[in-house]
Every structure is written in C-alpha cells, then in structure tokens.
Symmetry: C2
Subunit: 341 residues, 2 copies
C-alpha cells in the first residue's frame, strides 16, 4: 500500500518518484502546517557551553485533556521563574536527562515552591476510567475520552474493529497493523502520539506515549505523582514501561542536542556526583515571555501529508532501501515540527 499513489493520481503512466519521508514533509502544502502557540512553549536557557555558545531547549507542553494538572503547575513554576538558578542533575545513558532543584530531596535545603501548585492524582496518567481507578471515576475523564474519539484518533486495532469508527480523515493505512508491544492501539490526534486500550468494562482509555524527546514529571514512590518542578527528557530508546506510570507533560521541539550530549553522570541512576558536574539553568520561561522566540509549526496529523509521511516511515521505498518493513513503531513516526517560514 502506497498512500502517495492514491493521493495524487498521475496524469500519465510515467512512474512516480518514491519520496523519502523528509521529502514528503518538505513538499507538504502550507495549509497542512499548523501554528504552535507561544503560550504552549517552555523555553529553557542553559548556561553557555565550554566554547561560549548559547544552549536553548524549546519544549512544547502537552495539550488538554492530558496531564493538565501538572502542566498548570509547570506554568506557575515558569511564571515564578522558579527554575532560574537550578540545574541539570542527572544524565543516564539511553534513558533520561533530569533537571530541577539539586537539593529537592533534602527538606532542610530544598528551594521553596510557589503558591498554588496542585496535587494531581495518578488517575490522570491516562485519560480514562481504567479498572485500577474505577472507584475514582469522574465524568470529566469519560467525556474527554469521547472527545478524543470524536476528533478521530488514527488508529489500527489489533483484535477489534471499533476503534476505526472515529471520524479521522486519515486513511486507515496498515502501518501499525503488526501491533504495538505496549498497547492495543496507537495513533495520532492533533499533533501528538497516543496509545489506548480497553478496561475490563470495555471502556476506552488513552494515554500519552514516552518517545525520544518526551518530557515527563519526576516523582517519588507512589502515590506521589510529582509537582512538575522536577522534569526529565528521554534521551534514548523509548521507555514505554513508564507510560501510565508517570506524567507526560511535553516534548522537546528544538535544542534536543543540548540535552542528549550532556556528559553522563557516574552516580547511581546517572546522577552527577558533584555540584560542578551539573549544568546550570539560567532561566525557564513560557514562550510568551521570550521576545526573541521564533514561531513554530507542526504538520497536522489529520492531513493527507502526514498520512503519506507515516506510510513512508512504515514502508521505506526510497532509493536507499531494499526491503520495506511493512510496519513502524509509533516512536519512529516523530511529528514533524519546524520553525515557521
């Protein structure tokens, strides 16, 4: 199945050039690109590197209805300039880089948090009424799931067909047909990847996915869920075992290399053993507070261009490849994001 062929019937019988995924993205019409509001960006400026070069990391925050308790806390922390003067405290190879108050574990020395942060329940790791949380069911989460379904999540069901009933303009495709190791369904909605399944009562549940570059909320042992003051970014293979066990609050959209190349810590779990090894954080701001921030846009996951791109990621037929895989890991379909032209 080659979506490109179906999408653009050729006026002649000339063979169509098979585009690589990046070429499909580059040729997408302007209308398929949607703006990302600066108010949904978190801008972290690290201290300059050894050569004096600036290191800016831009993070897009998770949209509603997912993780909004933590995202609200993060907005408050940024507004209070709380992270200014904190540091990156951990870099564990093939896992995460983590930042926040290096003394956060020590109650006597920990930096005071701003007023108004909320405590968020584990319920909100997914947007669902899963069996685990049946006793805590609230109507708002049920409605939110329906909203996602109504918007049309582009998903392929392994064993059941009713996921396809959504109103997605995406062709059904077959790129996830071989299954996902962690979920019954995976797909995209409004620019983000989600996984989903059913609880024992047959109700849908959805949750955001940990991929490379995903930003989540560090926490202590359950039932602690973290405030959002301690954040991490994935710098290795997608640690999907964290899905539904920890809050996903965003993803790095620019400057990822400033995190992924940091020296790995040599303490337990990749924490730095000494203070000088930590990378200082100069400031963290919501995008609307950053005058020199460029505009960003993402390729609509509901567009025909995205469907062609995802299909090409699953079936590489461009010149370098000899055997298309016929399937793809959802974390190998990163949503294209770029500076707005």
């Amino acid at each position: 199945m080659l979506a490109a062929a179906a999408a653009s019937p050729a006026p002649t019988a000339a063979p169509e050039k098979v585009l690589a995924p990046a070429e499909i993205v580059a040729s997408a019409p302007a209308a398929d690109w949607l703006a990302i509001a600066p108010s949904d960006l978190l801008v972290m400026d690290l201290a300059p590197d050894a050569a004096g070069r600036a290191r800016r990391v831009v993070i897009q925050l998770m949209p509603a209805p997912f993780s909004q308790g933590w995202v609200g806390n993060i907005r408050k922390l940024a507004a209070a300039h709380w992270w200014d003067g904190t540091s990156i405290n951990r870099a564990q190879d093939n896992y995460v880089v983590q930042w926040g108050d290096a003394d956060g574990e020590d109650k006597a020395k920990a930096k005071a948090l701003p007023e108004g942060l909320v405590v968020v329940d584990e319920l909100y790791y997914e947007n669902n009424p899963s069996e685990r949380f049946t006793r805590k069911l609230i109507n708002s989460s049920l409605q939110a799931v329906e909203t996602i379904l109504d918007r049309g999540i582009a998903c392929i069901e392994n064993a059941q067909d009713d996921c396809k009933k959504g109103s997605s303009p995406n062709p059904p495709g077959d790129f996830f047909r071989k299954g996902d190791p962690y979920a019954v369904v995976v797909g995209f909605a409004e620019g983000w990847p989600y996984a989903g399944g059913y609880d024992r009562r047959g109700r849908n549940e959805f949750w955001p996915i940990h991929c490379y570059g995903t930003v989540g909320v560090g926490r202590d042992y359950p039932p602690d869920t973290g405030t959002g003051a301690e954040l991490y970014a994935v710098i290795g293979h997608a640690p999907r075992q964290l899905d539904r066990n920890i809050a996903v609050v965003g993803r790095v959209i620019e400057g990822m290399e400033h995190l992924s190349t940091l020296p790995r810590g040599t303490g337990d779990l990749g924490f730095y053993k000494t203070a000088p090894e930590r990378t200082p954080i100069r400031s963290v701001r919501i995008g609307t507070e950053v005058p020199d921030l460029p505009a960003f846009e993402y390729l609509s996951t509901e567009s025909a261009s995205f469907a062609r791109y995802a299909d090409a990621r699953a079936n590489r037929r461009d010149a370098f490849y000899i055997q298309p895989a016929g399937g793809v890991d959802i974390c190998n379909v990163p949503v294209p994001i770029r500076r707005r032209k």
Copy 2:
C-alpha cells in the same frame, strides 16, 4: 504471570519481594553468566577527551551464522590496523554515530583497503531464503536457519504457533504477546535479539535487530552492501526500518557514552562540516591484541534468570511502578553484559 513466583516456590506463605530487573540480574547465579571470547571483541580507542580522559569503546561482534562476511572483513581491517588515524565523521541526533575514512567517498584521497576483503551479497542481511532472494538460494543459509530453530529461539508467534516448536528452555512467557511493529516474531538466541518471519513459501527467515548501541555497516546505494570499513552505532530510538536493509555486525558493550555524547554534526545527516570537529580514532584492535582488556560475560538468554529478567522488563511490579505494561519492546530488553567478576 510472574515468572519469579514459579521459579522459587516459597517454603512459607510470606509474600515474595518483587525484584526489579536489575536486582534479578544481580542475583543470577554464576552459572547463568557466559564468557565472551576476547576474539569476538573489537576495541576502539578514541583520542582522549578535552580533560585528557581515555575514551575506549568495546564492541561485541555478531556471531555466526549472521553477517559473517562483513565480520570477517572487520577482523581483517582490525588486524591491518586500518582504522588507526581515521575518525568519527558523523553524529546525527536520535540516529547514529559513524566512523571510518573521512575521505572514503573521494577515490583520489581514500585510504587503501587491505587485501582480501570480500564483497557480501544483500542476501546476508537475513539468514533465510526470503522471496526476494529466492533465485539466489543456497543451502548453507537454509541450514543455518534450521540451526537457529533447533537451538530454540524464544519467540512468541502473533498469528501462528509453529514457532513455539523449538526446544527453547525459556518459558513461553507472554512478554511479546502484543506484537512487534516490524516482524512476526522476536526473541533471543545465544545472547542476541533476532526478529523473524515467513516468506511466501512458508519458510522461516531470521535477522538481527537494530537497537540502541547496535553496530552496523555503512554503505552506498544498493546493490552496494559496504565492506565493513565504515561503521555506525545507534545512539537513539531503535531504527528498525534498517533491519534487513543493512548489515548488523555487533553491539557496543562498554563505553557507549563516549559515542552518545559526541557533539552532533551540523552538516547534512549529521556529518561534521570541518575536519577539527571529527574525533580522531587512535586504534581499533581485536580483543586478543589488547593486553589490558578486562574479561566480559553475558547473561545466558537460555537461562531461567534471563526469562525472569525479561518478564520483569515486561511487567514492572517493583515499587516505583503502578501499572505493569504487560508487554515489552525487544529493544527494551537489553541482554545484560558486564565485566567478569
């Protein structure tokens, strides 16, 4: 399903402590650890870092019957000390670091290769008689597949049951039951992860998998398959689309951080734009030529300890987790490897 409970019947009714994967590995009996021969190791010493610290990367070479044409070339290149004085020329974020002759593309300046390198056919990207290569079928590859099956690859079949007929001592488990996005089956044999499927004639085919740390052979456009002089290591999410499209020849078992933290190149595909950005390679040797090389060992993938470890990776029930995934990506079950005690 908790393999740990079945493996150690408790003398009392006291609840068994649920071990984290690393704890299972640490408590595995000595007999479950198997030595890695120094002759199967490739030792790459980079120039020291800016602080003068040594940077050694140890790579384990792919065992027979997979990729042995390229592995043989790599042994010849190392014996000839061919890589000494070459460099790391590319670092693309969330993809690969690549090394070899920076002038390799320029026939006038390229470093001469040693005598005796062989040209390997695309057939050997997998060990199989796939449809694509039917016309090239040779008995040796068929026999090799049978050997793998007879040894007992621990795999779970999505749609068919005959994969289970192997003589694997691993419990069938359910950790891959949700499927793999790229293959019909995935599993482990003799310390390595493989994927497999069927061709249209119903014959088995198996191939090595690209995971974090996997080492492969850079190549030009097909039908070129590369000599092995140009190598790369995966530094991001598993690029499984490369499986069966490029030769997998090994994996990094120590010093991965010396590759994953290299500054990313700013040229196309992450190539460095200028020579000073490249990291010099002092030497590459087969392990038997390195006097100060420690001994390494891996956790037998046919052991009960490995089965418990893989199950725990798929079903995190240790204290930090609240929802076991019930499945796992094969690249999230790295084979435990350590210095021999």
